[in-house]
């Protein structure tokens, strides 16, 4: 199986968020995803980058954000790692709960899960790693059927 990997180490800045989105847009386009899917992938990456820069590394200039974009025959796999304290998944509220609808934050992870086929979040004391997977056309249906 052929694999095409691109890796970046980036500063904990807002520019990194924009750059991550643009990179995701370019790589997803090159991978052959349609415009709608490219938008979803790039938005998911943007939200993951926001989490890494803002909530993970808290703009700390001494901490970096690492991103891997891996294209295989079956999928685009994007991994984003920060060097923060580790995301506490139990503290992420359900943004669709009536009591949370009018909250001004807390929708990032929800949007990421909505836009990608598979999402893995691995928090640790060394930071949080989030893996985003989008299957190429045809493979996504197969994966969803297999998981049911």
């Amino acid at each position: 199986m052929t694999e095409n990997r691109v890796s970046y180490t980036m500063e904990s800045t807002l520019e990194t968020v924009d750059s991550a989105e643009q990179t995701a847009n370019r790589i997803a386009t090159e991978a052959g995803f349609d415009e709608e899917e490219v938008m979803r992938i790039s938005m998911a990456v943007r939200e993951a980058a926001v989490n890494a820069v803002l909530h993970g590394n808290a703009y700390d200039p001494g901490k970096k954000v690492k991103m891997d974009f891996v294209r295989t025959q079956d999928a685009l796999v994007i991994t984003i790692r920060d060097q923060g304290k580790g995301l506490d998944l139990s503290k992420i509220p359900d943004p669709l709960a009536p009591e949370n609808l009018l909250k001004t934050s807390g929708r990032g992870i929800f949007l990421i899960r909505s836009f990608m086929d598979e999402v893995e979040i691995h928090p640790s004391q060394a930071g949080t790693e989030i893996k985003l997977i989008k299957h190429v056309h045809g493979s996504a249906e197969g994966a969803k059927e297999a998981s049911q």
């Binding site: 807002l14 938005m43 943007r46 939200e47 926001v50 609808l101 009018l102 001004t104 934050s105």
Partner: protein, 115 residues
């Protein structure tokens, strides 16, 4: 492209024409400042025309929610006009579409504000 706004008034309603991206950073700040500026002048009928907003992220959604609640808490009304498909879909999946008063025609949107 970053966010730009321009404001005009029709029949006492402040129409804020927005264009660009409402995202973390400048875009969200511009929207927040625009709404605050109107409220500070006593202008509490606000119609956000999002027809030229081509991108919005979770921070932008949060800013729309913040604007909505801030205006409402001051006894005003904030409505949304001309959502693009992207913004419409985002408000649908976040269940905010029914929270906001969304219009697709400027004239009827203006009439919908309380006299």
């Amino acid at each position: 492209m970053s966010m730009k706004t321009s404001t005009r008034q029709v029949d006492g309603v402040n129409i804020v024409d927005c264009s660009g991206r409402i995202t973390l950073g400048e875009g969200s700040v511009i929207l927040r400042d625009t709404v605050r500026d109107l409220l500070s002048k006593g202008q509490k009928k606000i119609l956000l025309n999002l027809g030229d907003v081509n991108y919005i992220d979770s921070s932008g959604i949060g800013e729309l929610v913040s604007a909505f609640t801030t205006v409402r808490n001051q006894g005003g009304e904030l409505k949304l006009l001309n959502l693009t498909k992207k913004v419409h879909d985002l408000l649908q999946i976040t269940k905010l579409y029914t929270v906001f008063d969304v219009k697709d025609d400027e004239a009827s949107a203006i009439k919908a504000f309380a006299k």
